[in-house]
Symmetry: C2
Subunit: 346 residues, 2 copies
Amino acid sequence: MTLTPLPSAFDLDSQTLRLLAAVAEYGSITRAAGVLGFSQPALSQQIKRVEARIGMPLVTRAGRGIRLTDAGLVIARHAATVLAALESASGELADLAGLRSGQVRLSAFPSASSTIVPQLIRSMGEEHEGVRFTYLEAEPPEAIAAVRDGAIDIAIAFRHPADRDDPFAAGSEGLVVHELARDELLLLVPHGHAALPRPSGPEHPTPSAAPQPASPTAVDLAALRDETWIAGCPRCRAHLLDSCARSGFAPTIAFETDNFVAVMRMVAEGLGVALLPALTITASPLPPGVAAAPTTSGDHRMIVAVTRPGADRIPAVGETMRILRRLTARPDDAPRLPPRLDRSRV
Amino acid sequence: MTLTPLPSAFDLDSQTLRLLAAVAEYGSITRAAGVLGFSQPALSQQIKRVEARIGMPLVTRAGRGIRLTDAGLVIARHAATVLAALESASGELADLAGLRSGQVRLSAFPSASSTIVPQLIRSMGEEHEGVRFTYLEAEPPEAIAAVRDGAIDIAIAFRHPADRDDPFAAGSEGLVVHELARDELLLLVPHGHAALPRPSGPEHPTPSAAPQPASPTAVDLAALRDETWIAGCPRCRAHLLDSCARSGFAPTIAFETDNFVAVMRMVAEGLGVALLPALTITASPLPPGVAAAPTTSGDHRMIVAVTRPGADRIPAVGETMRILRRLTARPDDAPRLPPRLDRSRV
DNA sequence: GCTCTCCATAAGCCGACGTGATGGATCCGG
DNA sequence: CCGGATCCATCACGTCGGCTTATGGAGAGC
């Protein structure tokens, strides 16, 4: 008989519930408006707008004040439920913001897996227990691609100064590259090799005031032009060729492996010499009989972290980046990075 | 160490949850925007605004599309709860609008309690089972006051044409007065009283085509100027005086009671004559030996319903008013109102 | 390499919503 | 019985949020 005016579609808003809950609680539009933080006319006509939208009065005048209608009571009654749920969501957001929860998806190259990464995760765990990590070991190109398509939040990668183009200029387009630390490329030669300078003076060098490019014990690559070389992964191999070229020769490469432990043992066995990042030596101690030394040309790679722009605004990710920078920026706090030269003797 | 940016106060809005739930469901801002019914940029920058407000990204680009962050997932996850609660409230509003629930607080004067009111409540109950009633018998001034201060939704009252002032012009200020029906004031006299016209013609008069002001069997008040009168409640007494005055005499009032059953019995016992509204006779049949007749001067009262302005926009109240008008407007559908003269013989 | 799709951004417009001032009605105390 | 205090409704006005259309850039698939 009577047409139902609207089948449903009373599009309620949490703000509407908040308003009516306040009116119900304080029994007065004026006081509710005061508590909610705006003027009485604002609340008054806001209620009127809602009434117009749903087609029913929500309040009626009663004496000097007002009274909620059935419809108004319905809305006020549901307010607690809705506002509690919103509060719950808000609390979870606060947990994320306060680093009491959250997740960071991390990827890094192999030698970082056993050095930077465990340190980083442990440090975060100490300060922010609720933040969870996932980790996937991957070579820089793959790790960066994973950042690009959103599968990874932070990729720890490296970049050789020479290749301004290949995996980075192309791959990191639109991403943010944070330079973390310089990782020296060290020559690995059998102990007592002729190219090594004699240990002049005391065994422990001046601990801190060592100039960067030419370390006291640096070796000139050119002195090894006639050696047999052991190369690493394809990218490392390319960089070896480049470094040698800048020293004026083309190395004779007899062995290739991306397994840096194998490289060290090959050097120990006298099969050849190699150029390895210091971090790999931190990851796995040099076998006996192998010495490491920087090059006079200051060969190195940069360890970087790659993220999407704005990723640091995700609290857990931003904090992880902060800690990552702290760990890699201060060798004193983080004794394993960059490794000290004299540890090559261990 | 890290300052929590905001202790809480992530003021979420149900709209925000709706948006992110849609984005989570459809995996794309464009599609979610389509489903939600607005353009892609609208949704895009609405999300951006929320991000700026809560200080965390909610979505990140992933390849061609997007991916929700932890924060985005939190919000989307809570959406179901909040939207379900809103839907529940909306459903209750729909029940109110569809007259499947609701409440009407009714008040009426005594003789309506046993005539109009039960009929009204029964009719509503037949058509709209969910609507509940409360009822409070009260004389018009009190009933109207109750409407005024919001304790009653509909007051059924009456008004004499003479007193344009006392309980109405003053009491119904700012209220809406709906005229429902004319209620004739009938003279009650002992059967066979001299003032009664002889029953001319058949016992059953023409059922419908009776002219309003002067019914065929009408009696001139002036013929009863020397009778002893029985008066009703104070307001009725005032009106009796007024009617008699307009007929040119002042009645001799020997008895006063607002109990109309008592009035009838007094007339039956020959203690005097009275002027009673037809509705009271409907409420309680005339005792044997009493005849009723309208006056030639067409004395009557108006039965009215009084509500607050806009009260008819409350669905249950509006529908009650509709039914009330229907019951009182059509004597054929509502045979008890106004009462037929020939029923005074019963 | 071309095209299609998806998201981000810019410019512009309109309506929602806030404030302050004012008026009417009610309640209360003198 | 009257004047002050309180509460709500209304009005006029200014601002800002938010939507739209148009456009650009980046990624994915053929």
